[in-house]
Amino acid sequence: MPKSKHFNVTVRVWRQAGLQEPGEMVSYSVKGVSPDMSFLEMLDILNDDLLKKGHSPIAFESDCREGICGCCGLVVNGDVHGPDEHSTVCQLHMRRFRDGDVITVEPWRVKSFPIIKDLVVDRSALDRMIAAGGFISINTGAAQDANAIPVEKDKAEEAMDAAACIGCGACVVSCPNGAAMLFVGAKISQLALLPQGGPERNTRALNMVAAMDKEGFGNCTNEYECEAVCPKDIKAANIARMNREFLLANLFSKR
């Protein structure tokens, strides 16, 4: 049963009007917080309050608020997506906090995700890497019967583990090198594990890795921070598979 006792917190939020503008941490007090509120609903209340006072609300992104669209992403008290394990920040609830807490809220801070406003960043680099090869080249209408190619159940499950990525960018933000290797590795793995992805394995690995470098993402140095913060618990083993795919492609591809 909800043990609703309302409480007050202070949030310190990064405010920045635009990429070229200077930014700063600004403190706000939020009163009457219910433990059953989600963290983003607490920010909603703060924003409504700012709006009523004629101030500009804090810009942040979220959409589905059920942990699947990948839209939301904040650093809460230094934790990517907040303190809960393998969760998006939209699933974080205020019962995790106590009366009088000071909560620091920052945007994704990494060179490849430039700030747009306050807590909103530009993650379009992720789409560009998918466009470089994160697909199977089959035109609509050309497919044979779905059961014509059996897929080993364990392989299909492993592919699904990798495919569960929501494209939030937490892996990049948590990485000391700003690497996107978990994101790219997950897509390369998904398609390498399925026989349907076989014909383009080599070109896919080469092109996606090249796109990753072009976007200015860093390299993996086995910190495993990405795996620790991933809301969908995507394993760093996908990075190893990506490296293997890339190496083999370099050895055997004619391109």
């Binding site: 909800p2 589905c64 699933q91 998904q190 349907q196």
Partner: protein, 637 residues
Amino acid sequence: MKLDAQIPAGPIEKKWDSHKFNLKLVNPSNRRKYDVLVVGSGLAGASAAASLGELGYNVKVLTLHDSPRRAHSIAAQGGINAAKNYTNDGDSVWRLFHDTVKGGDYRAREANVYRLAQISNQIIDHCAAIGVPFGREYGGLLSTRSFGGAQVSRTFYTRGQTGQQLLLGAYSAMMRQVAAGTVTLLPRRELVDIVVKNGHARGITARNLLTGELESHSGHAVLLCTGGYANVFYLSTNAATCNVSAAWAAYKRGAGFANPCFTQIHPTCIPRSGEHQSKLTLMSESLRNDGRIWVPKAKGDKRPPNDIPEAERDYFLERRYPAFGNLVPRDIASRAAKTVVDAGFGAGPTGQSVYLDFRDAIKRKGADKIKDAYGNLFDMYYQITDENGYKAPMRIYPAPHYAMGGLWVDYNLMTTIPGLFAMGEANFSDHGANRLGASALMQGLADGFFIAPTTVSGYLGANKFEPVSTGDKEFTDSTKQVQERINRLLAVKGKKTPSELHRQLGNVMWNDVGMGRTEATLKKALKKIPEIREEFWKDVAVSGADKDFNQTLEKAMKIADFMEFSELLVRDALERKESCGAHFREESVTPEGEAKRDDANASHAAVWEYQGEGNEAKLHKEALTFEHIKMAERSYK
């Protein structure tokens, strides 16, 4: 407004094939000369952009998100139906067609639904080919599960994330076309108007959400793949940005809006916990296989549920529907829960919920078995409510989920404005008055992957197009009108936030136009909505600048449209005096208290035509005839 559904002649099994043959084609080398604008990047939009790009058209995709992969199709859980009959349990195209028409309570167009069932199998083939990691059996072949409204196992799935995987599949196919240069992606753009020239849709006005600039985009055809409007109820299972604005802009430019009152309320959602609530989260209806739904027999019983003895519990679904028990269809389960809550028997601290109890199933099967089957749902429930569903019953309540109504389209999925198409949830086409589970994904992909490339080509091939420029008067007029509306919003400088006003509207919609509707409640809503709308335009607070990244303005613009659209929804509900599917008029019930259709007078799609601001919309009717499926009353006793 003339409603010609363009249903091809001939036997139902041959209609689509003969129609494909009869439609005009566009020569491959000429296709790049045609510009097609696709608005929205969910299942319908992404798949339409991919398939049209593959054909060689010059496609532009606009999405209000930062990435096309955020569209709310991503949140669909259960699965996608197809008539593959891999299970050898007697499924067929004909049976899927039959189940869908019946599930929709006989308010959908037979020819469209038959085509949907035909195409369903190709969708599975194509999605497997483009790398969707479907659930599989140990032999390596695809696995299926059962869903409501069907007696066969025809639902394909990828764990509880089928919408996500299908959307990412369609997205990857579209991104391949981005790389190929046939598709141009324009993220963070919101459609604000449709541009019609000489009676044809020739472009759109969009707001660049980063800069606030209004942009004109011209084209030879415009596809609205902009989803549903359940957010008119404020609290729903939809994402925050789901809206009616694109469809509403089309309506105001002359597109007919069909059956707006057909809105689906899903029975198993986590109930609201307070005024702060921003959305409601769906829990898969599969939980009703093992969970028993009940409320206390005594009004206002505030004891913890485990302290309420068996004899003092009312298992109301089992009591009212002994044959189907807890597994009655969505509309029935939702209404039954509302009835007991409205009568004061609601459970939990707010009294706005019913219990979903696994005690008996755990006793019978063991906690491990229940955990295997539903573990992730119990975890999600815990994350949101801080309550342990293994130890005490979960609390659930129905929530708005899906819009069966939408823009009226003919067999080609074209609206009453030539050149303007509507696909996916944005159209009204296939689900009648109630959608079956796992059919939304099927429809979105059928529209985008398989119907759009055929019928949009047919339109482009059959028409001569005069040149347009974004400098034309129609474009500049549209921009001017949108700019005036934005200026008006910013000039209000009121005291109430857009969310507060949206919540006010949602309360009226939920209380008076929700699961049960009467002439009296609908008339009450018709009186209250204009008052709230007036208050909105007098007292809404929108801060910041127009030419800027301004989320408050974005929100206010969407809510302004809901303030108008809601009234049309209510008028449609008032006009349809029968009960059917999810539309429950309390005056039209069978002696057992179930929905009672009026086939003699209401077997039609209600299509509304805009008559200018301040004027009442004009009603047109498309008669629905059922030549292949016998109309009958749905009974679950």
